[in-house]
């Protein structure tokens, strides 16, 4: 039997639950923003949403198309600038960075710049934008991404935004702020965390209807498999209803397949 929700809905509902009430989150457009909006309406009414272009804590009437459009500060607390929002992250006031990405590796490093050689790229992507900044400064980085072998790679072609780099202690050695780093990777198949010892990606829960083998076959590296993997709780009726009716009534994000 097909579940009563699609994989994008599953990812967004799952991701939303990781955002604790009373915390701050810097988001990109699309799924991360939808997840933050959903969290505000379900489990984290005092979640403070920050947009890199200057918008702070809007009463979001709809999902922004751009992280700099007027929705990002609609009835907001502050409409400032990039320097204001980024330095707020620098000072350690922002708990979560919420990103997407074209490629990710086992240490949570993200590529959104090029596939292939940098100077003769097979594919050129937009680049960092503010992603590197968020992943450097915010305490915990969450990534929403569809999982497959070309996206989950042993080594990304280009580290656009830092995960744990080449392993434990490497962020600090590179000079990144102490105690920050990747937190959760939410895919269409599973939720991954990171092993506190090795800083490698580790399966935390597998979505309902998905098998461990699906998770492994859709990754070019082998994530750490704990003794016992749990099942990701599926979206609740309430979550789905709010997501569909209030967060994304036009199905801009949840309608993508």
């Amino acid at each position: 039997m097909e579940p009563g929700y699609n994989k994008i809905e599953m990812m967004i509902c799952t991701a939303a639950r990781f955002l604790e009430d009373g915390k701050t989150v810097a988001v990109g457009t699309g799924a991360p923003c939808a997840a933050a909006m959903l969290a505000q309406k379900v489990n984290a009414p005092n979640l403070v949403i920050i947009f890199e272009a200057g918008g702070l804590a809007p009463l979001l009437p709809q999902m922004p198309i751009s992280v700099g459009d007027s929705r990002t500060f609609f009835r907001g607390i502050m409409a400032a600038g990039m320097n204001e929002m980024m330095t707020t992250c620098c000072r350690g006031l922002v708990d979560y960075a919420f990103l997407g990405g074209a490629q990710i590796d086992k240490f949570g490093n993200i590529n959104s710049t090029v596939i292939g050689d940098y100077h003769k790229p097979k594919v050129r992507f937009p680049g960092s934008g503010g992603a590197n900044d968020f992943a450097s400064f915010c305490w915990q980085t969450l990534v929403i991404t569809v999982q497959n072998k070309t996206r989950f790679v042993e080594k990304v072609d280009f580290i656009t935004s830092p995960g744990y780099l080449t392993g434990p202690g490497e962020r600090e050695k590179a000079g990144l702020p102490a105690g920050s780093g990747p937190y959760k990777i939410i895919t269409n198949l599973a939720v991954m965390g990171f092993d506190p010892e090795t800083r490698e990606m580790m399966i935390e829960s597998i979505h309902q209807g998905v098998e461990l083998i699906d998770v492994l076959e859709n990754s070019s590296f082998k994530p750490i498999i704990p003794e016992k993997t749990s099942i990701t709780p599926p979206p609740s009726e309430r979550e789905l209803q709010i997501l569909r009716r209030e967060v994304d009534p036009n199905r801009y994000i949840i309608g993508r397949q």
Partner: protein
């Protein structure tokens, strides 16, 4: 000063604050009427080969009239600074105006998808690139605005973004901690769209300012396009609101709906249908050329472009969308 690591890419602009000071020493400070047309502004302040930066955020509060005029004037070999540059970058790629760029985000139009033509241009190798992040470019402009040769931050560390930048890693003389030193950049010219300006160039912006306050201070020349001109009493009655003072500004161009097809906060929403047409048409280069002719090259003014795109009826609709009155 010991450099622990450095990016491989070249700096396109000199980070020496004394070259900038020498320029600014001679820049006019008197309050004079700076009104001109977009055509005059581009002729006067944006020559071939100069280094340009565009205000706003890609398709939000952008000086579209100036960008169109750059294409019509067939400007070539420009330098360009783009933090999140989207429709602005798409336009400059459409005109093949660019030679060397300092960038953080290109090709994409955020949630709208990627620009096929900008991607072709970027993958062709015709443009020299130096890689940065949004905040890194913000710090570079901020350092220039502060009259110093670099600013520091803790981003890019450990990544290939740093390797393909022009930054250097240094050690703090107080804490011994590592920081990225980001070289100041003084663009030759910036074009910024604002809500209101007086004839001298004193400006108001409503909503987010992105990195435009830093940019207006870093750029050697500043072209302002404004939704509307206001009497200078409107400036003096509330000087707290002034975000760009007149002595930074070289040209003031009144362009109502000047950020179209982009969003202008509190004024009008973006024309998503038109932007989507750009992305679709770009897939076929021949068709795209006709599209460019129709909307830019064969058009004599920005007003004519607005008429072509639906005129007052369309603009009323975008106003209503912005204000959310039809929800």
């Amino acid at each position: 000063m010991k450099t622990l690591q450095e990016g491989k890419n070249p700096l396109f602009m000199d980070p020496d604050p004394d070259q900038a000071r020498e320029f600014f020493q001679k820049k006019q400070r008197a309050m004079t009427d700076k009104r001109m047309t977009e055509k005059e502004a581009v002729e006067k302040f944006i020559p071939d080969g100069c280094y340009l930066a565009i205000g706003g955020f890609g398709a939000n509060r952008i000086p579209t009239a100036i960008l169109h005029e750059i294409l019509r004037a067939r400007r070539k070999n420009l330098g360009f600074l783009g933090h999140t540059s989207t429709h602005d970058f798409q336009l400059l790629c459409a005109g093949h105006c660019l030679k060397k760029i300092d960038i953080a985000y290109i090709i994409g139009l955020e949630a709208r998808g990627l620009s096929p033509n900008a991607r072709r241009v970027m993958e062709s190798g015709e443009i020299e690139v130096c890689e940065w992040t949004n905040y890194a470019l913000c710090v570079r402009l901020r350092a220039a605005a502060e009259g110093v040769s670099f600013g520091i931050a803790r981003n890019m560390l450990g990544t290939d973004t740093l390797k393909m930048s022009g930054a250097k890693v240094i050690e703090c003389p107080f804490t011994g901690k590592k920081f990225v030193a980001l070289p100041a950049i003084w663009p030759d010219v910036a074009a910024i769209h604002v809500h209101e300006a007086d004839i001298y160039g004193n400006c108001h912006i409503r909503g987010i300012s992105v990195a435009d306050l830093e940019l207006a201070r870093a750029a050697k020349r500043v072209i302002i396009t404004a939704e509307r001109l206001v009497d200078s009493y409107a400036i003096r009655i509330n000087p707290t609101r002034t975000v760009i003072p007149f002595y930074l500004v070289d040209a003031v161009v009144e362009v109502p709906f000047g950020s179209y097809p982009g969003n202008m906060a509190y004024e009008y929403f973006s024309d998503e249908a038109h932007l989507s047409q750009w992305l679709t048409t770009e897939k076929d280069p021949a068709e795209f050329q006709l599209f460019l002719n129709k909307y830019i090259y064969d058009v004599s003014s920005f007003e004519e472009y607005l008429e072509l795109c639906g005129g007052i009826k369309k603009l009323k609709e975008l106003r209503r969308l912005e204000a959310l009155v039809d929800r």
